[in-house]
């Protein structure tokens, strides 16, 4: 069934970067991952992460999380996810 789903739409492989406290919670195998075919937007990606990693999803929902796609700030979660993208999840920052 899963194989058939992937057949219909080429699996997209993306790199996920988890910064700060998110980095402590994210399993290493998420660093490079083939996404299920129904993950088309950043919102879909966040929903999928929440399903597969509930603790990480809850931590992201509990704070202001910024998404960076290919080193540019994503302002709109309807933005598409493309094969080869690097998507970073940033918790609140604490420089200085």
């Amino acid at each position: 069934m899963v194989a058939r789903l992937f057949h219909r739409r080429e699996a997209q492989v993306v790199r996920l970067v988890f910064l700060g406290k998110f980095g402590d919670m994210a399993p290493a195998d998420l660093a490079q991952i083939a996404l299920p075919g129904d993950v088309r937007s950043l919102a879909d990606l966040q929903a999928w992460l929440t399903r597969t990693e509930p603790q990480l999803g809850a931590a992201m929902a509990a704070t202001k999380t910024r998404l960076i796609v290919n080193q540019c700030v994503a302002h709109d979660l309807s933005q598409s996810v493309a094969d080869g993208d690097e998507i970073a999840f940033l918790p609140p920052m604490s420089g200085g």
Binding site: L19, G20, K21, G23, Q71, L90, M93, S94, G95, G96
Partner: protein, 151 residues
């Protein structure tokens, strides 16, 4: 604007000397150095670890320094920020500004520091006898950031 992210300990005086070498266009130099404390809110700090997002962190700090330099008419600003593991007493951040007169250089350093506290893509983790914890901006950091924006 000069921005440097470094995993090595740095000497603020040497950085300032190199920043100001040969400059005769500015009558004022203001600098701020933030160092790692041995205690935070009464709890001992053994090490501080600062994580960056390589590439993005330097790009964002450069953008903040450019904006601040333009706003306060500073011909040059310098930011040196440590990442990696830092021990008490070591410098974490150096911000310096050159301007024709002192008021602009004072304002530029203060405002850029306020921005760095909340907007620089850096994440601090403190380790002490009680374990490790991630540091997030305090309400007063956000208040200062808002104030900095209003001018």
């Amino acid at each position: 604007m000069r921005v440097r992210i470094t995993a090595e300990a740095f000497d603020p005086q040497a950085e300032i000397a190199s920043f100001t070498a040969g400059r005769d266009d500015a009558g004022a130099l203001v600098n701020f150095v933030g160092t790692c404390r041995a205690a935070n809110n009464g709890a001992a700090v053994e090490t501080l670890r600062i994580d960056q997002y390589p590439g993005f962190t330097e790009k964002e700090i450069t953008r903040l320094a450019d904006e601040t330099g333009r706003r306060f008419d500073c011909p040059d600003m310098l930011v040196v920020h440590r990442v990696g593991v830092i021990r008490p007493g070591e410098a974490i951040v150096l911000v310096a500004a050159l301007s024709v007169h002192r008021a602009n250089a004072f304002d530029a350093v203060k405002v850029l520091m306020d921005y760095l506290k909340t907007d620089a893509p850096l994440w601090k983790k403190e380790t002490g006898p009680q374990g490790a914890r991630w540091i997030e901006p305090r309400p007063e950091d956000h208040a200062r950031r808002l104030q900095a924006e209003k001018g």
